[in-house]
């Protein structure tokens, strides 16, 4: 996403990248970034915690107006509510310290659309006229 942010800024659109992976963001060096200390897959909060999610986004938008130096990563002081133990084993999105996947945690890279529900496939196949 950092690469996308750089492309957008080059074209004149200001951006802010939310990130839970500080080292990856540091490497790709987007113009403005806001770090949350959350497991991968929970970048914008935990399910069904709307106040937490909203607080997180408010802090993002405060950060947007504060960042003056290109390449800044602001720490939003947002963290996982159940302590730090998830960090011991977290390696990737699938093995994020909350959910564990042993060994090779990469899923096969399947070339067919991967629908959440079978009815979505039917809807998409009946909907060829609609712009995607």
């Amino acid at each position: 996403m950092g690469l996308v942010a750089r492309t957008l800024e080059e074209a004149g659109f200001p951006t802010i990248c939310l990130t839970a992976a500080r080292s990856i963001t540091e490497s790709v060096n987007p113009p403005r970034a806001a770090f949350v200390d959350m497991p991968l897959g929970y970048t914008a909060g935990r399910p069904h915690e709307p106040e937490f999610q909203k607080d997180l986004l408010r802090k993002v938008f405060t950060a947007v107006e504060e960042i003056e130096i290109p390449g800044s990563i602001v720490d939003l002081d947002i963290s996982w509510s159940e302590g730090e133990s998830w960090k011991d084993k977290a390696t990737s999105g699938l093995n994020n310290g909350v959910n564990s996947a042993e060994g090779d945690s990469r899923q096969p890279r399947l070339s067919e659309p991967q629908y959440q529900y079978e009815e979505d496939r039917v809807a998409a196949e009946n909907n060829t006229g609609r712009e995607k």
Binding site: M1, L3, V4, A5, R6, L8, E9, E10, A11, G12, F13, P14, T15, I16, L18, A20, R22, S23, I24, S27, V28, N29, P31, D37, L40, G41, Y42, T43, A44, R46, P47, Q53, K54, F61, V64, E65, P70, G71, D77, E84, T91, G93, L94, V98, N99, D104, R106, Q107, P108, L110, E112, P113, Q114, Q116, D120, A123, A124, N127, R130, K132
Partner: protein, 166 residues
């Protein structure tokens, strides 16, 4: 800052790939100062576009495939998150399927419009699937499509883009 500090995923991936006998992954690295588009109006007056890489789509759209799909899906920003689906090869989908707002926070952004934290939410939110293995393809295929979707946004022009990865 937490006691342990952020997890260094680059280092952990390196260790994991070494254990599994894979070649080291070459993360994109950009050392030069990033391009910079100045903020021209207060966020409270800005039209904000969401770009999220959690693999969201909505019913009627073709879902992402998992083989480096560099396409984008435009989801009308008024669509309730309960109608948003997610598909992705590289993160635990279960919590995001329970509440898509954790990777595609349009319900929350609409609430922030109501409370005037942001001016408005752009007509469409832009969904893509992160984890494109090749940085070259991310830059040459994905980034231009996203720029095109932002530049040609129906309705008011976009003032600020919020990027939410997984």
């Amino acid at each position: 800052m937490s006691a342990n500090g952020p997890v260094d995923y680059i280092q952990r991936t390196r260790e994991q790939y070494a254990r599994l006998g894979y070649d080291d992954y070459r993360w994109a690295e950009r050392k030069e100062t990033p391009p910079w588009a100045p903020i021209t109006k207060p966020v409270a007056e800005s039209n904000v576009a969401l770009v999220a890489s959690g693999g969201a789509y909505t019913k009627g759209q073709v879902a992402f495939h998992w083989e480096d799909d560099t396409g984008v899906r435009l989801i009308p920003s008024g669509e309730p998150a309960s109608d948003v689906r997610v598909t992705h090869f590289a993160y635990d989908l279960e919590p995001a399927r329970e509440d898509p707002n954790i990777v595609f926070p349009t319900d929350r952004l609409r609430e922030l419009v109501e409370e005037k934290t942001i001016g408005s939410l752009a007509t469409n939110s832009i969904a893509c699937m992160g984890g494109i293995y090749s940085a070259r393809r991310a830059e040459e295929e994905l980034a231009p499509s996203i720029l095109d979707s932002v530049s040609n946004m129906p309705g008011p022009p976009v003032d600020l883009v919020l990027l939410v990865p997984v």
